[in-house]
Symmetry: C2
Amino acid sequence: MPDEVLDDISHRRYNPLTGSWLLVSPHRTKRPWQGQQEAPSKVQLPEYDPKCYLCPGNTRAQGDANPQYKHTFAFVNDYSAVKEEQQEYEPEVITGDIASLLLQAQPVTGRCYVLTFAPKHHVTLPDMAAEEILPIIQTWTRIYASHMSPSHPLKAEAARALQAIPPNPDGEVAPPKHQLRYMQIFENKGAAMGCSNPHPHCQIWTTSELPEEPGKELSQMTKYHADHGRHLLADYVKVEMEKGERIVWQNDAFLVVCPWWAVWPFEVLVIAKRHVRALVDLSDVERLQFAEAVQEVTRRYDNLFETSFPYSSGIHQAPLDCTAEEAENSWFHMHFYPPLLRSATVRKFLVGFELLAEPQRDITAEQATVRLRDCGGELYRKSLE
Amino acid sequence: MPDEVLDDISHRRYNPLTGSWLLVSPHRTKRPWQGQQEAPSKVQLPEYDPKCYLCPGNTRAQGDANPQYKHTFAFVNDYSAVKEEQQEYEPEVITGDIASLLLQAQPVTGRCYVLTFAPKHHVTLPDMAAEEILPIIQTWTRIYASHMSPSHPLKAEAARALQAIPPNPDGEVAPPKHQLRYMQIFENKGAAMGCSNPHPHCQIWTTSELPEEPGKELSQMTKYHADHGRHLLADYVKVEMEKGERIVWQNDAFLVVCPWWAVWPFEVLVIAKRHVRALVDLSDVERLQFAEAVQEVTRRYDNLFETSFPYSSGIHQAPLDCTAEEAENSWFHMHFYPPLLRSATVRKFLVGFELLAEPQRDITAEQATVRLRDCGGELYRKSLE
Ligand SMILES: O=P(O)(O)O[C@H]1O[C@H](CO)[C@@H](O)[C@H](O)[C@H]1O
Ligand SMILES: O=P(O)(O)O[C@H]1O[C@H](CO)[C@@H](O)[C@H](O)[C@H]1O
């Protein structure tokens, strides 16, 4: 590692995906912690909870009953942040008017899904084998495919992918009423990350507008491509494979790193090694390899502090409604943002300085990598079958 | 309010200070909450805590003893995120090399202070009268002035301001060893905001680089000035005074609003009405008027859910080392980012969708304004003298 000095001095690192900097203060973990302690996540959950609105057969808040599903189950969120139908709104924009300049709004429509990972209430991703995670990835792929615009550049890839994925016997989601722009698949895991139900599940919010983060990344990747004639994440995979010092794990299709620009203490980035633009681009083998990567990351997380490790994670990929250029510049990857820093009960707070000035972290990405590399192997607790 | 429909539909709003959008989903608070509950802040603290490292006369972690201070007390953080002296680091940049492009770092030096608001362990800002908050603002002003570059465009203003502010009898901070670029004054209040000591205090981090957030704001304000020949926040004050619907409180010198683009449920922005560029620009009367604004905001916060309301807050102003153009484009303001949403124990989590896609809020800024406007008046609990 040429820049060993970075282990000892305060410095900023640049995130080329978002075009922004963060502060790294490696010596700072030495300070004593007298602040808030998280309640360690309970890992002793029943296999079925009659009060859980996600367990098979149970009735949800607004009266709908879940089927006796066997793998995954997707339904429209009973309290969606965006809806397909709402009152029309066309903001009046007057040229030269300061209210038009400074009070800008635009309507957003969309559809929000909840997707359970499995029927069992207590089986989290790290408890599952890659083969058990595969149906989740298949479901993501089917839902993505069913929301793509008719003229989407990856229509042929989607058709090919769907041939290999059997429809979900527990039911498919309906196609959207209006074409939407972007699909954000994300998981909030653990009470510390605002998750209000421990039954393993993710959410899928589709919106009529391209949200900020994927929008920023797409424009940074587009600019990089224009400037250098190569893909940003292709180059990044190459550089990380050469350096080695931030690689947590890899297989033929995916690289798992603590990225150079990690903000959260044990932040991880899963990157496709070849130019995968969206879920529908993955081959059968790659879908399983992606499941392996997700398994490796989440199992290492649980092993790190011997707890059910909280995080928010999410996939970035090509928009649902997208030009050929946008598809070309998209590069499939998955972010994991976990809050824990020192133990199962002591988290990193991204607060005052971070909110007002700049994200700040206390250990380097390289130090985090070593810790995550060293806690591979079996899940620390007996896996639930 | 012309756009009443925005109370009912999902929409995005634009933040001109950062150039980014956020999602507003006004109907979403209807969903039931079964997630994490915060421990309500204890407001029953002793006036003096022998174990507190901020109380007068006590000894800190690294052995230094606090003086028997009477108003405020500033000292260099024993666990600073940045330091004045560290090993040199000059990254090697090779043109055309992808590691130079994608693994960018730069050294950061600086000095971090802790500043107590008052000797009493249990007296928070909302417990204080504006006259008692004034010494804090005077100390901020003196510390800012003592860190300004020799060629700072506001040197004359600083000299004038200092004439009116008596030196702190409990000691002044030493001038920095090297000129620094920016001073971020911020407060983390409450365990929910990562605060590890309830003794009322803020932090002041000065750094050799301009951090992301003030950097983004300064470039947005500079661009607005160039495009329109007027100041962004001057126009914003004007538009909010005309509309009225987001004004929480005001006096002659400061406007307190829930900004159009608020992300946190009860986010507040305190804006100077005239072109104040930094603390040293404030007149004697304006310093007290600023203290009044801080008092009004923090007291309303405590009254809202009848609790010691957590938040992170911070001041944005002209850099310490700054060109005439940068000073001209700076506009003094203070952000308050409080996490609570529904009650003293139920907060908003900015997690999965927010981190991966776009900030999302559940009530409109106008609804939050009404709530904060309605809880003015006396502090709900008996003020500690
Ligand atoms: O300096 P403190 O109060 O110990 O620490 C707190 O504020 C800092 C600045 O916002 C954060 O980096 C820490 O994560 C937080 O716990
Ligand atoms: O939808 P949930 O799980 O009820 O809610 C959680 O995730 C959402 C999306 O990140 C956030 O907006 C909420 O603040 C959080 O509590």
